[in-house]
Symmetry: C2
Subunit: 808 residues, 2 copies
């Protein structure tokens, strides 16, 4: 048995909407629902002007209807308020799988046709609009970059609130309507992100209206939040700091009235919070009796208005409505007949005129121009993006005389520059950190601003600031998601994190990179600012923490994404870090990953040299090598990438110069990892001829690498000299121990590098047996020393570069 | 100014503890605190029998004191109840960085000395115990595998509750005391995991006592939960379904009394919940008026009992107590003097006897034998592990006549076997899924059990079951963490997930793999059951969803971990999947990643062949190739790994046989990806000679791979024939489209494979120009067909293997 929806009649219900407004609003909602069902099912006969035939139905029915009526309901009601109150608003569809909903709304609003001229707002356009959905060569099933007004695809669930809150920061006049799936709400990231309200300053930031779409189901299960007592749910949301307004039911008229009332209550609540806060000035806090942020709990049936029963099973109001309620509509006559009744139950003849355009009554309800959520430039952030004002990084560089004669904490030096960046861009640049800003030595930013904090402030709390430009919360997910939301809506920022724990957001990174890639192919989308990571407290210096904190593998994840999108930098010292970051903050539409040290470490390059070296991305350090000036080929290339590998490589080079003065040693440092890739595979890739010149075509190359060694092989396996490339890096040997013990555990230490040279340079081998043995013995001595003294061998700990060629 | 703690005197306070019990308990706590401070600072003079000198202090002070007093307080009070009530209990330190705490407790309990005979429970042992902590060659700073009683390292924050709840499942007599850091509570995974209580059946499972360690600070910031109103915090916890008992203060006597009372209330509450549920039988639910699960909120100062002020800054009760309160204790006389006063404030002379052993009064408070949390075998799960009863997978295999003549959904076939596994192991095997069990086609498990669900049950909810053996919750973090906890405590299970979204738990996987690696090196730890992933809904078949759901990169993450720990399998059909999974469920101490298809797909191998092929891991499919029977070398090798690449490869092989009958084509299928690695790098690695025999030393190899193509290069770059290896795989081209369009987008399709063969086999090239052009044209025709018809070209969609050599 398969049952069609009853002929739809809108009942009476009282509330803020007068009968006419109620009827009109309901019509808009019905139109959006009709257009959503049409997208899922129809390739032809869009207005049902003829009886529905099998060939009108798509051969593959792909999409998700269950969540759509809820999305459309919120959208329609938001529109009413946008018009009434002159709001600037955007829409976030947490259940982004309900793509047909936002698509439909954008089509009614006309944005769709403005952006895609082959999809006009008429019968022909509707036909194309339906046909293209989830169709090869058409548009994706989700709220993808192709969807007007979307800046949140919602494919991987959990990040809707973060994107919404990120958008609201520094956007005082913005309202973000954010629908959160009740299934989505089970994810960790979403569960944590309710607390993002503690970072919203109502004087400075816009507002988020979270709407928990409590349709009670996911794909195949009920949701937890639907199956705890209603009172417990509301308690939970209050505990998160919200005042929930509940809209529950399945009678459209009543739900419309309740939703209208709830929306008004929310907007009133927000207006009041903002009014009080703005009157008090940006420094006011919750101590001034701030009200809870309002939100909505929308308990309506999943697949609302779809066939209640299909093949004898309840569908409407259950998980079975998640995807395609009538899966056999093309092949099964009953399903098709019910589909037709279902479509007709929305009364399309009342909704679309002769030409297939929405009737005037619908059009009148659309907000105008950019006020349409599908057209708000905030959702196409590149349109609003302005360059940052960047102070000259050279003014913040450190003096370097003889390379290696001074020490600096690289990230600390960067922090001074970032402080100035923060100061110069007081409303468009934010720094995010999971309680690691100071730990990663960026604390100088706190000289010019505090940490944003809208909760209470305790006596001993430090540098908390209602207007702070640093967001610290112990959630890598929140840091990542808020920054994504902030960037997607046209601003700039960075995320600093411990290197190992950035894996926590691998999947969010993946999704953001995919968004960047896909949106670059959508003509009307404009490039946004790059997502900038600053990873520190890296694998080699986990003296306090040990094995759990050692994982340089984020680079491997990043390099799986499209080369056009990703960049990886491993600056070896303070000035190269500055130069790199200056470049990152100017770039667009990339993900830039920068790994840098925070411990005092030798400065190798002065400002000018750093600029040159970073521009090259990979280059010879003549002063560190030996014999290149003779004009003959080197005997061996010591390559390095990363702070610690560079240090060990230079120490090895110094040893070799002293002990094997005839050996011609070239030192190559790589800052821009993408240089290793073939030119054909990455825009930064070195041409083969250049690569061969740098690394030679046939000499052994000992490559000391910051991360997992096989990553370098993966990047270089097509290079001429790959067979001679020997890489050292982290191979999952670690614990709480000294810095030098760590490099020894992974055979990356200077002594082992010398051994590697001896083993690979044919002319050395047994000739250098004595030195080789000494190196092996020194390793043992170094290890024993740590066991006895708890610190590294003084000759290692106090080692400094002996001076450039020709010097001392 | 640096201020030492005041001379410690225990005040009066009333409560459940009589004065003597209070004094004794406090002494135990002081002893644990003393031993923790000693670990952080001292390498000598452990009992302070002489005045503290610089050389007694470690040169590097590494560790985290701030959280320790809280951990020790909970531990001491738990011990009281373990003795009083005869509990079997384990301890989870969410802030695992407080490793000195659990270490100290284990030493007082004697477990430390039993497991490490070089660390006896006397002065000499104490000296060694202090010395080794965070010391090169010693033990890590966290609650690592080396720590007796730990099964949760707590290095990466967020998973404490999940491990605790996972341990409690199917352990009806177990109590898990789980300390959650208030910083940790900000993480997404932790925020979501409070809801794990909805999966605890009090009749079947044990209980978790969450203790929120509200010391108000993280590394450098206050915590959110400490800076919302107390009432809001309690509201939040009630919303999560708990009844919070608050213990707050800084006067030890009063806190002890309050903690004792709170602990009793919790244990009483749990006992009552369990009594009622057990009386009602395992099927009772919350509808029978179940009480909320009790928990504790412990608001005590961070670094409690440490120097209040250091160098003029408040330390006790602030974030500055997080690591080492007196950082200069070795070099600065004042710091050292204050350190000595601090240590003496615990009155060690009362706590340890002449020999340095804990005094009798302390020893009497230790639970006995396995009742000590540091000795409970539950925390060393391998001790308790029993083999699964496994039905013969061959009985569940599908009949295969001519290869490719029948179709099955591989995971569905597996599901039938898993159903039987579930039935045969009713208390030691669980399946976890993020709402994807049925979507991944494992729903036949639901024929023998339901989904565990302890919340309300709605009219249309399906297969929910108070005693269900499947845990479904829309949180990959919860699935991962609960299963980890379940495995770490000696049981078995699997986690099925969409391939792309398994990246959500990359970091949890990393941590679990590290735990496995490190624990394998701890002699007294026993191997546990492997962590088994079943990834489906993979990159090639995201017909409904598109780009956001396409990411096969988890394999890249997994292969960064130690080869001894990780295994990756890509079974191409139903029987090979069965055979693989049988192997996985028998294995120990690995992480097994299996990627399999869920769509109807050709069966290639019968049960016997599947068993042989899986044992080989990689092998020639003679029936699919052509010319190998002649005894001469092939002209080309078509290699494949994974469901869809295998299909496309066989289709290419069939085309080649038909169109280029003279070409000798060898088809090699790889199930066990580790076979590609050199023998020296992985226990499954093929010896070079075998690899060369299989893949030839000099013929072109066209490798169709399931994942990112460079992964195969990374595994094989040292092989003889690597220069001739040409890999096709996913390269981030995707959208919502047809299955064949997807493979075409990534050049993995049969036609492109034929082109690759023509381009790489020297004898073909221009000879085969006609066929090449036809292939290119067919691709275009196939693409155009999808645009017109929305489905794949019939000759592709309906393609079947034309029959083995010599057949048909
Ligand atoms: C992180 C993640 N895990 C799993 C999925 C697969 N998935 C797609 S939709 C869905 C159910 C979503 O339920 P809900 O959030 O309630 O949305 P709605 O009911 O509104 O469709 C799931 C599990 C996903 N998209 N993302
Ligand atoms: C996921 C993760 N992010 C960041 C860190 C770095 N970190 C170590 S301890 C800590 C603060 C922990 O605070 P809390 O949980 O309150 O522990 P406690 O105050 O008891 O030490 C942080 C941020 C981490 N260990 N894990
Ligand atoms: Mg839902
Ligand atoms: Mg804390």
């Amino acid at each position: 048995e398969t049952v069609a929806p009853e002929a739809y009649t809108l009942g009476d219900a009282t509330g803020p909407l007068d009968p006419d407004a109620l009827r009109r609003l309901d019509a808009w909602w019905r139109a959006a629902n009709y257009l959503a069902v049409g997208q899922i099912y129809l390739k032809d006969n869009p207005l049902l002007r003829e009886p529905l035939q099998a060939e009108h139905v798509k051969p593959r029915l792909l999409g998700h209807f269950g969540t759509v009526p809820g999305l459309n309901l919120v959208y329609a009601h938001a529109n009413r308020l946008i018009r009434d109150r002159g709001l600037s608003a955007v829409f976030v569809a947490g259940p982004g799988h309900g793509g047909p909903g936002p698509n439909a709304c954008g089509w009614i609003e006309g944005t769709y046709s403005e952006l895609y001229s082959h999809i006009p707002r008429d019968a022909e356009g509707m036909q194309a609009f339906f046909h293209q959905f989830s169709y090869p060569g058409g548009v994706p099933s989700h709220a993808a970059p192709e969807t007007p007004g979307s800046f949140h695809e919602g494919g991987e669930l959990g990040y809707s609130l973060l994107h919404a809150f990120g958008a609201a920061l520094d956007n005082p006049d913005l309202t973000v309507f954010c629908v959160v799936g009740d299934g989505e709400a089970e994810t960790g990231p979403l569960a944590g992100s309710w607390h993002a309200n503690k970072f919203v300053n109502p004087a400075r930031d816009g507002a988020v209206v979270p709407v928990l779409a409590l349709n009670e189901y996911k794909i195949a299960n009920p949701t937890l939040l639907a199956r705890i007592p209603q009172e417990e749910l509301e308690t939970l949301l209050r505990g998160y700091g919200y005042e929930p307004h509940v809209v529950a039911g399945s009678d459209p008229a009543q739900v419309h009235q309740d939703m209208a009332a709830a929306m008004e209550a929310c907007l009133d609540g927000i207006a009041e919070i903002q009014r009080v806060a703005r009157a008090a000035g940006g420094d006011a806090g919750p101590e001034d009796g701030r009200r809870r942020w309002p939100m909505i709990v929308m308990r309506t049936p999943k697949g609302w208005t779809c066939p209640p029963v299909v093949d004898g099973q309840q569908v409407e109001g259950t998980f079975r409505a998640h995807q395609v309620p009538l899966p056999a509509a093309r092949t099964d006559g009953t399903h098709r007949a019910v589909l037709e009744q279902w479509l007709r139950s929305y009364r399309p003849e009342e909704l679309f005129d002769e030409d297939g355009a929405p009737v005037a009554e619908l059009l009148e309800q659309n907000p105008e121009g950019d006020a349409r959520m599908s057209a708000n430039p905030v959702a196409n952030g590149g349109l609003l993006l302005r360059d940052l004002r960047l102070p000259d990084w050279r003014d913040f560089g450190v003096e370097v005389g003889t390379p290696g004669s001074t020490d600096h904490e690289a990230t600390r030096v960067l922090g001074r520059w970032l402080a100035e960046v923060t100061r110069l861009n007081p409303t468009s640049f934010l720094t995010f950190a999971p309680d690691e800003l100071a730990s990663n030595r960026l604390q100088d930013i706190l000289d010019v601003t505090g940490r944003s904090w809208q909760a209470e402030i305790g006596e001993f709390d430090e540098r908390l600031d209602r207007q702070g430009r640093v967001v610290e919360v112990l959630s890598e997910h929140m840091c990542q998601g808020l920054l994504e939301g902030y960037l997607l809506t046209g601003r700039h920022g960075l995320f600093t994190c411990y290197e190992a724990f950035i894996h926590i957001v691998d999947s969010m990174f993946n999704q953001h990179a995919k968004w960047l890639q896909a949106s670059a192919e959508v003509d009307w989308r404009r490039p946004i600012a790059s997502f900038n990571y600053l990873l520190s407290s890296h694998v080699w210096r986990q003296d306090h923490n040990g094995f759990t904190h050692q994982d340089p593998g984020f680079l491997d994840v990043v390099l799986n994404k499209k080369p056009e999108i990703v960049r990886v930098y491993l600056p070896p010292d303070a000035n190269t870090l500055l130069s790199t970051y200056d470049h990152c903050l100017r770039s667009r539409h990339y993900v830039n990953v920068v790994v840098a040290g925070k411990q005092p470490q030798a400065d190798w390059l002065g400002v000018q040299d750093a600029a040159l070296h970073c521009a090259r991305g990979a280059g010879i350090w003549e002063w560190a090598g030996h014999g290149d000036e003779t004009g003959s080929d080197p005997d061996v290339v010591l390559a390095c990438a990363g702070e610690i590998p560079t240090l060990e490589t230079l120490a090895a080079a110094a040893l070799l110069r002293e002990r094997l003065p005839d050996l011609r040693v070239r030192v190559v440092n790589v800052v821009d990892l993408m240089r290793l890739l073939p030119e054909s595979e990455h825009p930064h890739g070195l041409p083969d001829s250049e690569f061969d010149t740098l690394f030679t075509a046939d000499k052994p190359v000992i490559f000391a690498f910051h991360g997992y060694p096989w990553l370098v092989h993966r990047l270089t396996y097509r290079r001429t000299n790959h067979a001679q490339l020997h890489v050292r890096g982290y191979k999952e040997n670690g614990t709480t121990t000294t810095p030098f013990d760590m490099v020894m555990l992974n055979d990356l230490d200077r002594y082992h590098l010398v051994v590697d040279v001896i083993d690979r340079v044919p002319a050395l081998r047994s000739r250098a047996a004595g030195l080789r043995q000494e190196m092996v013995d020194t390793r043992l001595r170094a290890r024993t020393w740590t066991r006895e003294h708890g610190v590294d061998l003084p000759e290692v700990a106090e080692w400094t570069w002996p001076g450039a060629t020709g010097q001392a």
